[in-house]
Amino acid sequence: MKYFCTILLIIVIFFLQIGVLPNLKIANTFPSIFLLTLVGLTILIGWKKILGWIILFGLFLDFYSLHNVLGISVISMLLACITAQFLNQRYFKKENKLSIILIFTITIIFYELIVLILFKVFNIGYNFYLLGFVTKIIYSLILALPIFYIEKWYVDKIK
């Protein structure tokens, strides 16, 4: 049951990221389901237990990027998850909707900034648009809570 749920969840995540969201762009941007999934799982079970997920999603994103530096997404996602856990343990210990949204908001902004910095460091072309940046965060937050509660159901199932 555990493996079935895990494989099913991974297939659904990949399908949403590859097949659905690129067709539903707003202001030429769409959320990263990979990131939302990882942040949600970090809040629920901690980043160390999902290190394999972070490497899998990060490497996939790195291969499917226009740059040829392997590891940028892995490092960005890893740092984002560590930040999410730090916020969860230090400042937002109580699990309520507001605290979850705040963790997601801060983590997503942090992740986007890390990507931006790493792209600049490795001299990879990526123009920053404020409108796209803000839209992406709002768009991501709309999906964050449903994803979190689906993951909560998944974590309860595999326990």
Binding site: I18, G19, I55, F60
Partner: protein
């Protein structure tokens, strides 16, 4: 705690090694694309169908479908007209000047699209032809209707990445077909493409075709890019700016042609 950090350390070392050894990154990329491309294509096609299904439901049924078919036909015809017009113009000039005829034979490689940008950071597509088929960085990629798609940005053994014409990093030297006004085409913040720095003295027309000028030495001359959608010549601006309706819908592209 130690185990997790040890894993990260090993991962970092592996990543550094992969990035430092020449060819290893590309070899791995080729391997990953070989495995994941069919899956990505399947997901992409199913997702597209699902989204299209809901779009058709939301829109006014059959009318929308007919409209899409007509639009596609229109694009094909416009691209064809532009291509023929350009060949004709070129031929006429050459005939007059040198009294010779010139054929415009292009060496084309047909490729299908097997992947695309899934992060939304950069606009690119992955095609199933690479170095083994003679594809090189910088080659121009066009649609089967001979409209501009982009240029080859990275080449693997069996795959290549194509930077789309509406990418943030793409600058295309273009010319308006009738008024012969030249300019650079760039991506706008809202996602479309636009042409800037057009003197206000130039008389522009809506739906005028825009083609590549070839002055950037990146793209061959005369490939259709799109048509003029809106003209912004407000008083507070020194130049005119036009937004462009691209000739192709990149989401619906399935096959492309690489000019070798």
């Amino acid at each position: 705690m130690k185990k997790a950090f040890l894993t990260i350390l090993i991962l970092m070392i592996i990543l550094v090694i992969i990035n430092l050894i020449p060819g290893l990154n590309k070899g791995l990329g080729n391997f990953v694309y070989t495995i994941f491309s069919p899956v990505e294509r399947l997901f992409s096609n199913v997702g597209k169908e699902i989204v299209n299904f809901f779009q058709v439901l939301i829109s006014i049924g059959e009318l929308n479908k007919d409209n899409l078919v007509l639009k596609e036909k229109n694009i094909t015809m416009e691209a064809e007209i532009t291509f023929l017009k350009n060949i004709q113009q070129e031929n006429e000039i050459l005939r007059r000047a040198l009294n010779i005829s010139k054929s415009n034979n292009l060496n084309l490689e047909i490729a299908s699209i097997v992947g695309k940008d899934i992060q939304g950071l950069q606009d690119w597509i992955l095609i199933n032809k690479g170095a083994n088929q003679g594809i090189k960085i910088g080659m121009t990629v066009i649609s089967p209707e001979k409209a501009l798609v982009g240029r080859i940005n990275e080449v693997f053994g069996e795959f290549s990445k194509v930077m789309l014409v509406d990418s943030k990093d793409s600058n295309v030297a273009a010319i308006l077909e009738n008024s012969r006004t030249e300019g650079l085409i760039k991506k706008s913040e809202k996602g479309g493409i636009f042409m800037d720095f057009i003197p206000k003295t130039e008389q522009l027309q809506i739906e005028e075709r825009i083609i590549t000028s070839g002055t950037d030495n990146l793209y061959p001359k005369g490939i259709l890019i799109g048509t003029v959608k809106t003209i912004d010549s407000s008083d507070n601006q020194i130049f005119q700016q036009i937004t462009i309706a691209p000739a192709i819908n990149f989401f619906k592209l399935e096959y492309v042609l690489v000019i070798k």
